[in-house]
Amino acid sequence: MRRLAFAAALGASLLVGPAIAQESQETPPLPKLEWPFEGVFGAFDRGSAQRGFQVYNEVCANCHALRLLTYGDLGPSGPGGGLGFGLDEVKAVAAAKQVPDTNDQGEPITRPATPADHFVPPFPNEKAARAANNGALPPDLSLIVKARAGGPDYVYAILTGYKEPPPGMKMGEGMNYNEYFPGHQIAMPPPLSDNSVTYADGTSATVDQESYDLVNFLAWAAEPTLEERHRTGIKTILFLLVLTGILYAGKRRIWAAVH
């Protein structure tokens, strides 16, 4: 009796689920991929993430900022041990960008970036970004994987979801049809095509591969301490299981007198 009521209550709580997930009555369900960082033992695939960084750096960085990271974060002193790049690679990546600074006379100059600098944004401010992008503001990508319902699956779906609009659909000016974007009209044109980048390790750079690698990179960028979190979690829960087991034994023993 009571159990039934309880079950009904839990069933009602399931109504909450679909609401908090994406409110997309029209968009199809997201394709679900297996990401290497998901799950209790999840960890970043650094090979893939490094390729993804190359995609970001060569393609996305032209419009999208990554301001929460410094170049040094990619290297050995980065959070969670970085992305696996060596210090020299990191310096080279940084030095390829220019940062505003002042000289000894106090005049504004630009200088090459160092590992201590945050990723140089493509536009100096929001107005410039909008002016260059048809009024739309390309969002910063530092947290994009955590800032969208569906997370990595959503970002992957957007990247691979560009299609021809269905017959009869009127597209807004400058808009592009995307299967998974709410409302189906996205201001960003398809950012990736086959061989947009040439991977240093020779992996074939299809759109799917580039998207997969890019999402792996962005997932790392959003939460570089994920692996430490998983490791600590496993130790903590194992410890708690042992401790709770002993406490249960203790409870039973102590209460044996009363029962």
């Binding site: 410094t70 959070p79 590992p115 201590a116 410890f239 401790l243 002993i246 023993r253 102590i254 007198a257």
Partner: protein, 216 residues
């Protein structure tokens, strides 16, 4: 009656020692858990990754410093004096008149890396690198290289701290009879080229840590 009955029922079991074992195990595990829990909290107060990164070595171009001139740069939020000493100034460093005024002329106290433990307290004699914080109470001493003047006929040039009158010579060595107890510290530094000095990094073969000095 019934309550003490409980006590007897529980205590008089042969499981008395077993219960002690249980208490011991739980206490031990609990202590381990509590200790492990305290670590992240205490550790979070240590300098964060970005703070440590901001303390990385800085490269300074010294090619523009004229002889007799000093520049001040910041490293780890501390003022660093880089002084280009003249030949005459270097001569005073070994003169009896200078040495007789000093508390620790041979730099016996650990206030400098081993590669600066010499009569000029530096790698290259003509360039002096010091942490510009008075070893008395932390003011920044002023640079006063001209002999004589307000500081009297025996003043050969050096540093004068305005707060309480401590004096140091042109190698940062402290005078006798002033409040400051120790020579000005020398930070780790290295010449990466003839014109660029890197503050915060030792030359190859040395691993001097500034925190090892007697007093900053």
């Amino acid at each position: 009656m019934a309550e003490s009955g409980h006590a007897q029922a529980v205590g008089s079991q042969e499981g008395g020692t077993r219960r002690d074992f249980l208490i011991l195990t739980v206490s031990a595990l609990g202590a381990v858990g509590a200790g492990a829990l305290a670590v992240p909290f205490i550790s979070s107060m240590q300098p964060a990754r970005d703070t440590l990164a901001a303390g990385a070595p800085v490269d300074i171009d010294i090619s523009h410093i004229q002889p007799g001139q000093q520049i001040v740069v910041l490293w780890r939020s501390r003022p660093i004096f880089i002084t280009h000493r003249t030949e005459d100034e270097l001569k005073t460093l070994q003169s009896p008149q200078d040495i007789s005024q000093l508390r620790d002329p041979d730099s016996k106290a650990l206030q400098q890396p081993e590669y600066a433990k010499n009569w000029h307290r530096s790698i290259k004699p003509e360039f002096l690198v010091l942490v510009g914080i008075c070893t008395h109470l932390g003011c920044i001493p002023g640079f006063d290289p001209r002999p004589g003047g307000d500081l009297g006929p025996s003043w050969l040039g050096g540093y004068f701290c305005p707060c309480h009158g401590s004096r140091y010579d042109l190698a940062g060595r402290v005078f006798v009879g002033v409040p400051a107890p120790l020579n000005l510290p020398v930070p780790p530094y290295n010449f990466v080229s003839d014109t660029v000095v890197r503050i915060g990094e030792n030359p190859p073969g040395s691993n001097f840590d500034l925190n090892s000095v007697e007093q900053l």
